[in-house]
């Protein structure tokens, strides 16, 4: 598998990362090198092997349905570049 310049630009756009033409070119090479490295794994035949989700046999942890958190709106927005009345403020987005 390899990526071309257009794919790199598209992925950057989907992640909302601004990438210059020059950077995109460089990243195409870098990403293809990484993909080539990972592709070595294809040499192993894993047909019929269940993906391993944990190295130790354990079940998903579950919570009881009780309210244990919240009531800290000021903390939640404390790091926001802009906020008002405990709302996050972002540049206007209307789809």
């Amino acid at each position: 598998m390899s990526v071309d310049l257009a794919t790199v630009k598209r992925v950057a756009h989907l992640a909302r990362i601004a990438v210059t033409e020059e950077d995109a070119l460089r990243m195409t090479g870098e990403l293809n090198a990484i993909l080539g490295f990972v592709e070595q794994l294809d040499e192993v035949d894993v047909s019929g092997v269940e993906p391993m989700t944990s190295v130790i046999p354990m079940e998903m942890r579950k919570r009881e349905d009780v309210v244990t958190d919240g009531g800290k709106a000021a903390d939640v927005v404390a790091n926001a570049p802009a906020s008002a009345e405990n709302f996050f403020l972002v540049p206007k987005v209307v789809e």
């Binding site: 598209r10 989907l14 992640a15 909302r16 993906p51 989700t53 944990s54 354990m58 079940e59 998903m60 942890r61 579950k62 919570r63 009881e64 349905d65 009780v66 309210v67 244990t68 958190d69 919240g70 009531g71 800290k72 709106a73 903390d75 939640v76 927005v77 802009a82 008002a84 009345e85 405990n86 709302f87 996050f88 403020l89 972002v90 540049p91 206007k92 987005v93 209307v94 789809e95």
Partner: protein, 499 residues
């Protein structure tokens, strides 16, 4: 996925166009908020209407290092709903990350289920109607899947000239996405289907179905075709938030597509929005701009696994569902299918009815609940929860009729009194002197008086026995409606000498 057409084109559902009839094909993705105290992966509250960002934990705000831990009640609610939809429950399911970028999605991805949902195929029987003849038609709508996912936050765009306000209170609340097969063939069927889903979930207690608070929203997939032909290209109308709008959106979108096709055009697969004010759909984004969600298994969450015994235990405690209840009302209580359908549509109404009917005649209770109580509630714009006449009061009124203490006509008056003034029906009958007069002597006296006062009418009645009804009416009037109508009828006939 190959689509299987389970329905036969029916002329009464077709839409006529300039070039002949068209058939609309609809599939729905319903997003139902799971009824739970806390969120799917955090301990923050799910309460509606709290102060901005008050129901937000650091998990919901996607602060670095926060890890999701699943709320077991949400898992149970999804299983219960799956059982209510007669669907396959998957003992192993997997949570995936659905990646997209939007300010009300702080994680940058929604935790959802993609390839392995918790619930697989099922089906729902939907009663569509009544039509002009008062008939209902039962259709079967297939369920493709049901999966658990997180809700996003809420953005407000009208608070500031250049900024949007974001509140994450909804962020992380558990949703069930219920995907139907494309088995729906009209706006009416779609509305009936969503109504039925809502009824089932309300019976189960798994979603309150409150559309005003956004507990139930739908994405509507619409395409059109010539009857029985190949499926057309579909458009998806996003986030329609009322049952009425779902119907309007389908009708508007079907008309738009038919107009394009009849003009020799082509339908582009795209995402659209419904504008209720204009009654039309407009393009939101085309296929080229479509999201690439880059799904992958969420590495923070192990697969969700449980055994069949876990499912069986939940199944054992499932409440009676609307279809079963309707069946019981018809077979055990002798109600008509129509009355039973009306009563089971809202769980609260069915419960009220059962309380009234307990130990009484089912049909009589059904008549009073449907015609008198629901009629009066409807007229005054009240919900059942606000009814001024309780089930016990209505039951007492029915008992008084059964015992012969009051006539059916007086019962209607008594209902009015209880509705406006309240009080114990039995005491009201005593204190207001509403008791039916069964004393033959008193009735006889009234009959004699009426006959004596109208000798000419009595003469006519002897010649034409149907005139006797006029005397019965007069006697009832004279006794303030309290005389037993049967006794009056018998006495009038005897006195006039008619058989």
């Amino acid at each position: 996925m190959s689509i299987i057409d389970t329905r036969t084109p029916d002329p009464k559902r077709l839409i006529s166009g300039a070039t002949g009839d068209w058939e609309v094909i609809v599939g729905l993705e319903v997003h139902a908020q799971v009824s739970s105290n806390s969120k799917l992966f955090s301990g923050a509250s799910t309460d509606f209407g709290s102060a901005p960002n008050d129901n937000v934990s650091l998990v919901d705000a996607a602060m670095p290092g926060m890890l999701p831990v699943i709320n077991e009640e949400c898992v149970k609610q999804a299983i219960r709903t799956g059982l209510g939809l007669k669907a396959q429950i998957n003992l192993k399911s997997v949570f995936d990350r659905k990646n997209y970028f939007y300010p009300d999605l702080p994680q940058g991805y929604q935790i959802s289920q993609f390839k392995q949902p918790i619930v697989g195929e099922g089906k729902v029987i939907v009663s569509v109607g009544p039509d002009r003849q008062g008939q209902f038609e039962d259709i079967e709508v297939g369920i493709e899947r049901l999966h658990l996912e997180q809700d996003a936050g809420k953005s407000m765009h009208d608070q500031h000239p250049t900024m949007s306000y974001v509140d994450l209170n909804r962020s992380g609340v558990a949703l069930m996405e219920i995907v139907s097969k494309p088995d729906i063939r009209s706006a009416d069927e779609a509305k009936a289907y969503v109504t039925k889903l809502r009824t089932i979930m309300r019976y189960l207690g798994t979603c309150d179905g409150n559309m005003d608070e956004g507990s139930l929203r739908a994405d509507v997939n619409v395409s059109v075709r010539k009857p029985g032909g190949a499926f057309g290209t579909r458009c998806e109308i996003k986030n329609v938030n009322s049952i009425r709008f779902i119907g309007q959106a389908i009708e508007a979108e079907a008309q738009r597509q038919i107009a394009i096709l009849e003009d020799g055009g082509r339908i582009d697969q795209e995402t659209r929005l419904f504008d209720p004010a204009k009654g039309e759909t407009r393009s939101m984004r085309s296929k080229e701009e479509a999201h690439d969600y880059r799904y992958f298994p969420d590495p923070d969450l192990l697969p969700l696994e449980f055994d069949q015994a876990y499912v069986d235990a939940l199944a054992k405690h499932l409440p009676e569902l609307p279809d079963q209840k309707k069946e019981r009302f018809v077979s055990a209580m002798g109600l008509s299918a129509y009355d039973a359908s009306v009563l089971v549509a809202e769980k609260a109404v069915a419960d009220f009815f059962e309380q009234v009917a307990a130990g009484r005649d089912g049909k009589m209770a059904a008549n009073w609940v449907i015609n008198d109580l629901l009629g009066a509630l409807n007229k005054s714009g009240k919900a059942l929860e606000e009814t001024p006449v309780s089930a016990d009061q209505l039951g007492a009124i029915i008992d008084l009729i059964r015992e012969g203490t009051i006539s059916g006509k007086i019962a209607k008056d008594l209902f009015e009194i209880v509705w406006t003034e309240g009080g114990d029906p039995r005491e009201l009958v005593e204190s207001r002197g509403l008791k039916q007069v069964t004393d033959t002597g008193a009735i006889e006296k009234a009959v004699d008086e009426v006959i004596a006062a109208n000798p000419d009418k009595a003469e006519q009645a002897r010649a034409k026995p149907t005139m006797a009804g006029w005397f019965v009416g007069q006697v009832m009037k004279a006794t303030g409606g309290k005389a037993n109508p049967q006794a009056v009828n018998d006495l009038v006939k005897a006195k006039l000498g008619i058989e």
